[in-house]
Amino acid sequence: MNKKQLIDGRTSRPSFFPAAFAELMIVGGASLAAIFIIIPAQTSPSDEIGLAPSFVPTVCAAAVGFLAVAQFIGASIAHGTDNGDGEQRAPIRYALMLMGAACAAVLVTWLIGLLVGCTLLALLVSLILGERRIWMLALVPGCLALTIYIVQWMGF
């Protein structure tokens, strides 16, 4: 959103609705999927005197769906005033890079082991954060690898 749009309140309206609607679709959709697909498939009916295993999850999912609709309506009426922080958000690419590093580490952990996975995570995160000094890139992951090795060797 550019400066002009920020100054002129009316121009923020078109960008608010798609975002709020997308949020409603994600949260509300997840709620409906939970009620009609996931919970029936993942719970079994019970013959016990008490409540069915699906009772509390269904109530929770329904409540989440209802609140998501209420949030959308409320935010629309308030013209997004309680969602105004959205414009101030940091670029998501940095967090995505860190998440990518974590996913790569999880993959390596699954394939090779925790020691290598954790060391790789430390190295990748240091690189993403802009660390380029070779000795630091060796020191931090190296110390962590040594710590993990000792922890595993001690049988914790």
């Binding site: 929770c60 989440v64 995570l121």
Partner: protein, 506 residues
């Protein structure tokens, strides 16, 4: 008396005292280092306690929590960068004092006020928790369900910018806590055929992922954004200057006592937390300023007010936890997970089932307060220098500790995968205004809530009208409804206190 002595004996054991001291040192480091918050540090500290006795484990975590609160002031005074969100108010007067060459004085005021607030709040906890637990035992499932609905509503209202988003997060936490075996029929529920989920979503993976891992993603993102825009880090002020005189100590005593009271009140009410307590206390101190007081320009009363209140919150927030099993803050919620790891369920029955443990914890808390004073005083200048450790070291180290910590819970890689998944989910929740604090409290109280709700429905024979026979339950539900009406409109007050995206309950 015998049980008390046995508890004290446990607390005075070498392991327990060692755990307290280690916790205090770790807590100070956490508090001093910008970027590593108390809940995140507590979450990654929980796995360390697997191999400790229950008293030592809780003492260690209490040490971490208490000292991180006190240590948070160091960054606020020396760097104008609070180590903890709750120490943000300390910047108002602490940093000007440091800039004026009174850094040592400000650090000492912060330390003494912290220790005072902490000890008094611990004594209040000891005095109130058991009588309240005795009262809570008279409450039935309907009352307990209502109390939990009220507390979750209140926490949701205060822990973010939108009550409805807070409630969504809290209810989602309860939803996720239902994964595992059904408590009545013992049939798998929402496990997707994975045996690893039969015991539910791993508690440590959830807390570590949602708090520590998410926090590191947020910190990394903010670090990189700041680096691209300014490329500058705040300048460290050298700790030097005049010492604290007796006259100045006498000046801050009334403020410290009043602020401790405010902190205790903020701790007892679920959801308020240390940030609101500290800001409220600062506001009250400033309002009752006398001629000559220099609030905002370097006033020791301002530092004392925020630090006393900040440190009084944690022990007070344990009152609802011990009395009715309800964690009033995220730190208390993490302590619940530590209790559960050691086979203890916090709640009114804890005083009957584990009296020795409770007395041990009480004595450990007092020991932790004294250790906090000693360690804080000895390491005053050392801790001030540690605040310079760059985030390029902190973030990779903490992320690796998150992986290790979640693995150590059950020694299965599944916990690591869950932790990373929940960490990523927590990041997106935080980014779009869904409080991870409310989520976590919902997740922790979920099993107790479900049990109470089931019991209520069975006891009432599925007739909602029978709630009219339970006035306490009606009162709490009415308060929850009022809270919704008051907080449902867009607010600025709740975020005003925190001053950043951190929720007050943190």
């Amino acid at each position: 008396m015998d049980v008390f002595l046995l508890g004290a004996q446990d607390a005075f054991s070498l392991t327990a005292i060692g755990a307290v001291i280690c916790g205090i040192v770790l807590g100070y480091l956490v508090g001093v280092l910008p970027g590593l918050s108390r809940p995140a540090a507590l979450a990654i500290a929980v796995p360390i306690t697997y191999y400790l006795s229950p008293v030592s484990a809780i003492a260690f975590l209490v040490g971490v929590t208490k000292a991180s609160t006190a240590g948070g002031a160091t960054g606020a005074i020396m760097l104008n960068t609070p180590g903890e969100p709750s120490s943000a108010a300390t910047c108002f007067d602490g940093y000007p004092l440091a800039r004026a060459g009174h850094a040592t004085k400000a650090l000492k005021v912060a330390l003494y006020a912290s220790v005072f607030g902490d000890i008094v709040a611990t004594l209040v906890l000891i005095a109130l928790a058991k009588p309240l637990a005795t009262f809570a035992l008279k409450m039935g499932p309907m009352e307990m369900t209502s109390v939990m609905i009220f507390a979750l509503t209140f926490i949701a209202a205060l822990s973010g910018k939108s009550l409805l988003k807070g409630l969504i997060a809290g209810i989602f936490g309860i939803f996720l806590s239902t994964v595992g075996l059904d408590p009545e029929s013992a049939t798998p529920r929402l496990t997707f055929g994975m045996i690893e989920l039969w015991d539910g979503v791993p508690l440590v993976a959830a807390t570590v992922g949602m708090l520590a891992f998410t926090e590191m993603l947020v910190q990394g993102e903010s670090y990189l954004t700041r680096l691209k825009t300014t490329g500058k880090m705040p300048e460290l002020v050298k700790p030097r200057g005049s010492d604290l005189s007796w006259r100045e100590i006498a000046r801050i005593i009334p403020t410290t006592i009043r602020s401790t009271g405010i902190g205790v009140a903020a701790g007892v009410i679920p959801g308020l937390g240390p940030t609101i307590g500290a800001f409220l206390s600062y506001a009250v101190a400033k309002k009752s300023a006398k001629p000559g007081d220099r609030f905002g320009k370097g006033e020791i009363k301002g530092v004392a007010a925020t630090e006393a209140a900040d440190n009084a919150v944690l022990p007070a927030s344990l009152i609802p936890l011990f009395a009715i099993g309800l964690p009033g803050s995220v730190s208390a919620a993490i302590l619940v997970s530590a209790f559960m790891i050691h086979g203890v369920i916090p709640g009114p029955l804890i005083f009957e089932q584990h009296p020795r443990l409770m007395y041990g914890i009480y004595v450990s808390m007092i020991i932790a307060s004294i250790c906090m004073l000693l360690v804080g005083r000895v390491g005053l200048h050392v801790f001030a220098k540690i605040g310079n450790v760059p985030l390029t070291i902190i973030i990779p180290v903490v992320m690796v500790l998150c992986m290790m910590g979640s693995f150590l819970e059950k020694h299965i890689l599944f916990s690591v995968y869950m932790m990373v998944m929940l960490g990523i989910l927590g990041y997106f929740m935080q980014r779009y205004g869904y409080s991870v604090v409310t989520f976590l409290i919902g997740f922790v109280v979920g099993p107790i809530f479900e049990l109470s709700l089931r019991q209520s429905i069975i006891v009432s024979n599925r007739q909602p009208g029978l709630i009219l026979d339970h006035p306490i339950a009606i009162a709490f539900l009415a308060m929850a409804a009022i809270a919704i009406l008051v907080f449902v409109r867009p607010r600025q007050g709740a975020v005003l206190a925190s001053g950043d995206d951190k929720s007050p309950a943190e």
